[in-house]
């Protein structure tokens, strides 16, 4: 088990984000009702915004779930596994889906923050896919090293 405090703190942060994310995702319709009182755009496009945010929320949760799985192996000091390669690929797909959801939101409202979110998740997805390829090579090197006596 890793004794690195940074790894443990990050794992705790991820756990918090995951469980808090579930809560937020489930209460999106209620939250948007409340926000709609102050920002008319949320009242005007209540249903599409609910759908877009809940779908992207679910994929964000899936992304966090995969990240937690990777961190569990990091804590066990054995991160170079094929499972982590698959997790990184899934994280990339989740990022792309979130990015697409944000693009759909641009139909209703265009703000600099929205454009930034689209870009961030698009780049995050690309990084994740590239990282999965790097990890794949690392896994094969590790396997070869493990089987060199």
């Amino acid at each position: 088990m890793s004794r690195n405090p940074l790894v443990r703190i990050t794992k705790l942060l991820l756990d918090f984000m995951f469980y808090f994310g579930i809560l937020i995702c489930l209460t999106v319709p209620f939250i948007f009702k409340v926000i709609g009182r102050y920002y008319t755009i949320f009242e005007e496009f209540y249903l599409p915004f609910c759908i877009i945010f809940m779908v992207s929320g679910v994929f964000a949760l899936l992304l966090l779930w995969e990240l937690r799985k990777i961190f569990k192996t990091v804590m066990l000091e054995n991160p170079f596994l094929v499972e982590n390669v698959v997790s990184l690929q899934r994280m990339g797909i989740c990022s792309f889906v979130i990015s697409i959801c944000m693009i759909f939101r641009l139909v209703f409202i265009i703000t600099p923050a929205e454009l930034l979110l689209v870009g961030v998740f698009l780049i995050a997805g690309l990084f994740s896919i590239v990282l999965s390829l790097v990890f794949d090579r690392a896994v094969s090197y590790k396997e070869e090293n493990d089987l060199t006596i």
Partner: protein, 77 residues
């Protein structure tokens, strides 16, 4: 393919896996990988240590065997 005949040499020398692992300074797990032909590569230092302990030549431990399966596949192609 290269076949490791470590078990044959060990049997000839009447030496067990535990004894060999202690003398060669290898873990039982690694020695088992080697003995069961699961290893992908072998270090010269390991080969040197095994040959010294078992008093044999590398050729006694390692053997090249032609793979018949691959030959059949080549013919099919």
């Amino acid at each position: 393919m290269i076949v490791v005949n470590l078990d044959v040499v060990m049997a000839q020398r009447k030496m067990g896996l535990t004894e060999l692992s202690e003398q060669v300074d290898l873990t039982m797990a690694n020695l088992s990988i080697l003995k069961n032909n699961k290893a992908k590569a072998m270090r010269f230092t390991t080969l040197d240590a095994i040959c010294e302990v078992l008093n044999c030549q590398p050729g006694d431990i390692l053997e090249y065997v032609k793979e018949e399966k691959q030959g059949k596949e080549d013919k099919d192609e």
